[in-house]
Amino acid sequence: MAQQLKWQLGTVVEIRQETPTVKSLILDLPNWTTHVAGQHVDVRLTADDGYQAQRSYSIASPPEDKYLILTVARIADGEVSPYLTDVLRVEDQVELRGPIGGYFVWNADDAQGGAASPLLLVAGGSGVAPLMAMIRHRANSNKKIPAKLLYSSRSYEEVIYREELDHLAANDISLRVMHTLTRQQPENWTGYRRRIDRAMLAEFAWHPSERPLAYTCGPTTLVETVANHLLELGYQPERIKTERFGPTGG
């Protein structure tokens, strides 16, 4: 019998405002065992009358980091996310357990010798968090496995990790980052301006002959669309991994 994943306390060491409605919590967890990029944690909040609520959050930090990063999108009528984004402060503690999940994961060192499979990452909104862990992990690895991120946001202001992604892509020819802004675009916007569709994937994604490995995370409609189109474009079903972030993630 495996050891139980125990609840542990993390201390908030920093809070980053990523977008108007998204914050990253940087947590110091003295009892953390290492994770794999793509995994998540369960966060548990307890009120003073004993009432508890739990939700899952993807880990946005790579395994190499000293601190664990959780990126939380504030859901207006949510129960847990507004607490994490509005109430929690630096030096507060928060209870969580993990890492959880052994399928939607990517480890650069698993790539067997020779050419590793190129990575296709497709994100919608805060679904970028587990993919960011993969991108950050990849940046830390000496193997520069070719990777592409296609990232759908509603507007420029709502792009999470925008500057970091720009910086990483500018300094690494084997990483391509492409944005699509579905509702509002700044003047002179050169990226896509629509929801992810088949033509966009055909244009941007790796050709299936390169044996890519695809990860897609976001709202259900985006994930369904992306997975279906990738299948039709010739991707192998077992090489398309999906994770959903619904509004009930509250």
Partner: protein, 209 residues
């Protein structure tokens, strides 16, 4: 589990509501009216004329039903609460399907000596393991309608297993059959860190819980 670190300033949703309702929500779960979709890969599309349901494995004679044969089996409407390990619970969901008791009733116990477990297998390659005791005696169905309509592909159509007393990953989508075994062996999520049994009332979410 009632211990826990008191989160400064956390109040949670208003409480003191319907106690009966509260007793239907297992620990760590919250109620939703929506029907979130969770799956590890693309949604498979299986034409009904190629669909069948098999029972095989450690059994002397395999069983198989085509889609049309399956629809002719005695079926029932069940109203159940479902609980996903990702924390949502949905109450009073209505399904139409064939009781697993009906499917197993055609098997002579002597043709499957010592069999105590099954692996549900599915289009797309998903598997999940269950003790036979958890699918017998009115505890499990192969459902093909949800809320009076064919089950949508992303929710597991044309047919999915329904085992409402366990976390919903046990209710395998796109099911195509059971493989029977004497010994238990882990399925897809059970090999990826999730609990082997998955009882929501004992909060058996992950390995070791």
């Amino acid at each position: 589990m009632t211990e826990g670190f008191i989160s400064r300033g956390f109040k949670g949703r208003p409480r003191g509501f319907d106690r009966a309702l509260k007793e239907r929500i297992p620990p760590g779960q919250f109620e939703t009216d929506e029907f979130p979709v969770l799956s590890a890969g693309p949604t498979p599309r299986m034409p009904l004329e190629r669909w069948d349901f098999s029972i095989n494995g450690e059994i002397t004679e395999d069983l198989k039903w085509t889609w049309n044969e399956f629809l002719k089996l005695p079926h029932e409407t069940v109203t159940v609460d479902i609980h996903c390990v990702t924390k949502w619970s949905k109450l009073d969901t209505v399904w139409e399907g064939v009781s697993v008791d009906t499917l197993l009733s055609g098997i002579n116990p002597e043709s499957m000596p010592g069999v105590a477990y099954l692996i549900a297998f599915c289009d797309g390659g998903y598997t999940t393991n269950l003790p036979l005791a958890d699918v017998r005696d009115g505890k499990a169905w192969i459902a093909y309608e949800y809320d009076g309509r064919p089950i949508a592909p992303e929710h597991g159509g044309p047919a999915r297993l329904l085992v409402p007393h366990l976390y919903f990953w046990k209710s395998a989508k796109w099911i195509r059959g059971f493989k029977l075994f004497k010994e238990d062996r882990p399925g897809f999520w059970e090999s990826a860190g999730y609990h082997n049994h998955g009882d929501p009332w004992n909060e058996q979410r992950y390995e070791g819980d």
